[in-house]
Symmetry: C2
Subunit: 399 residues, 2 copies
């Protein structure tokens, strides 16, 4: 008897009729003889609606109370789904994080799962029940309700699969992982499988299909994660460890783009490593995510330094920067697309960077900034060049 | 430093603006130097909306899941109120039944509070926090979320006041307890105080101001309960033990009416006490509330027996009755108003029953059934006679 952990997103649970459809799908799986655990997101836009209520109370709502508030969305959908399954004659039970002992630590709104007490979960499965779990939520050591961050139900699902030693299936409104976002490139191909590393690079780079922490967790415990449509014969994508890199495997698996960042350039800053260290430390302490740092060669012991930050954190970042350079030496470039080429095959295949740069040069695409990892190249380009860049790179690598 | 437990109903929390108003009122009380605990109902019609969702899933939604579902309404309002108070610069914290250890037993949807673990509550008050509690909910010994029944937040509030040894204030959309429902009798007078017993009779008889279990609890532990408008100078009513019955005290305190029951009559049932006992036992086991039992004198060892039950339980009751008598011997009278005259002074004053019957006779009001307690007379009358009955009795006893 295998244990299957299925996760259904908000769009699959948007209405009562959709909840009934999910109940039918879950029951079909149960009828195959598997033990079924279902992790649910909140119905449709419930989370946004709850956040909207909080924002009407306060521009900066208390974080403990905000987590307590938004966690109710998943409680509603989990009990409705359990009701629907029971109404179809199958035994089911819904659990909150409290009831299941999903222990978290870290900040409200982005807490981390430390542990899950599997006892109640296993007991219910042994009793033949279909277990429905409110995703996205946990309980910290003070007994406060916490949430895992947007998309956190994915992480709940993988964590439950880890605890039970089962497989994990994420049902969403896309039919799998594509090499390129199909909204940007109509010839994009769906991948049958993708390595955790590649998916992580894609997830953190703006391919909004999955909560990236769920993939890290899957990778750590080697839990295969299926991503696809529910109630559909269209096969999705399996995220797993891809080891059989044969000769024909492609160096590039996918392209991800993001328009959510701006480039900040500081002019003529003193080239002392301790000043830069203090600057980045200050920024990091505010949990502002810096990416794509580049620096010019020093002139008169002064350098120019550029880095990207998320758009919405410009204000907070500026406050810190003013302690280091005068305002007229700070420039913000918000005409920026982060364009990333990802592929585990890049570990073995040289020349991908050269190919990409040659393509960009031939097509007059200016590269503003560059960062690379073992399996990724990211270029900062002008937003107007985005679609062209996607097209030429996708064609070149047959994505 | 006194401990004050305030309860705000759904109409006081209907919108974000109303929640902010409640926050201001609570803070004013805190500023007086009291320790303040606030028990909240769900915002406006939230509970009904959640029940409506459940009914779309199933005509008979699973009771455990229904409780888990509807309990979210109070979690939402409690976290929003805590946010609002914190936003005004005062420390506050919201707690669910789980977090506070509100232990219940009995059936879902009408569970009873067994105990409250006061430790977390007291700690938070000592830290100077305003504590906001999600009313209406509890946790049973299996760790399931339960609810206390409609209006159960009143009972949560009184139970918390009992646990903390404080006073209890119920803020609602009426400005106090009236001798007669002002919607039915425009000259109705508001009472400054009312005895627990009288209030219990009125509450259980259709004066929908308070959850009757909250009054029982207040009586048991002698906790005075104030009922009135929030944020208003209009004085409300105090429910407490009224001992000073002086000569001028009135025999009748109030009138309550209810149109929610039907009279069931069983014809020619065998007059054996064991058959009746079995019948009523079967009905009681389904938690159907029987009231106003009357029986005719036996003819040929057969009797007619009538009793009232809540309208919505007719279907379930009929199933049981069919095991005892044939369907043609069962008749249902749904043209029924239960008309009750209540007064702790009736213990000392005879003749109230006679006065009421005389009034009814003079006004051609037919009495179908009668029951009495030490401080109450209830008559089953035709619905068309209700308003006239209220008027003549209220005038007679100067209510």
């Amino acid at each position: 008897m295998a244990v299957v952990v299925q996760k259904y997103g908000g769009s699959s649970l948007k209405t009562v009729d959709k909840i009934k459809k999910v109940a039918e799908t879950v029951i079909k799986r149960k009828d195959k003889g598997d033990s079924v655990v279902v992790v649910v997101s909140a119905m449709g836009d419930t989370t946004d609606e709850l956040i909207c209520l909080a924002k009407q109370i306060s521009n900066n709502p208390d974080k403990r109370e905000l987590d307590a508030l938004v966690s109710t969305g998943e409680m509603i959908s989990s009990s409705l789904l359990a009701m629907a399954i029971k109404n179809m004659g199958y035994d089911a039970v819904s659990y909150t994080a409290y009831q299941l002992g999903i222990k978290t630590s870290g900040q409200f709104g982005k807490s981390l799962i430390d542990d899950i007490d599997g006892v109640k979960l296993r007991e219910s499965l042994i009793e033949g029940k279909i277990v429905i779990i409110a995703g996205f939520q946990g309980i910290n050591e003070d007994g406060d309700i916490t949430t895992l961050g947007r998309g956190g139900s994915d992480t709940t699902a993988v964590a439950i699969a880890v605890r039970l030693g089962g497989v994990c299936e994420i049902y969403t409104d896309v039919d799998g992982i594509y090499s390129v976002d199909p909204r940007n490139y109509k010839n994009a191909k769906k991948l049958d499988e993708i390595d955790y590393e590649e998916m992580l690079e894609l997830a953190s780079l703006g391919a909004q299909v999955m909560h990236s922490r769920s993939i890290e967790l899957g990778q750590k415990y080697n839990i295969p994660i299926y991503v696809g449509l529910s109630n559909s014969d269209i096969p999705g994508t399996i995220i797993k460890e891809v080891t059989n890199m044969n000769m024909e495997s492609k160096p590039v698996t996918g392209i991800a783009t993001s328009d959510d960042d701006v480039a900040v350039t500081l002019g003529e800053i003193s080239n002392r490593i301790n000043i830069l260290a203090t600057l980045f430390e200050r920024i990091a302490s505010k949990k502002i995510n810096i990416d794509m740092i580049s620096q010019t060669a020093p002139v008169n012991d002064k350098v120019n330094i550029s880095f990207t930050i998320p758009k919405e954190e410009v204000g907070e970042c500026m406050e810190i920067l003013k302690d280091f350079v005068s305002a007229d030496k700070i420039s913000i470039d918000d005409d920026l697309t982060k364009f990333s080429v990802v592929g585990i095959g890049m570990k073995n295949t040289s020349g991908v960077t050269a190919t990409v740069f040659k393509l960009f040069d031939e097509n007059n695409i200016q590269v503003k900034m560059i960062t690379t990892s073992e399996i990724r190249i990211t270029c900062g380009i002008k937003r107007e060049d985005k679609m062209k860049a996607i097209e030429i790179v996708a064609e070149k690598f047959a994505l």
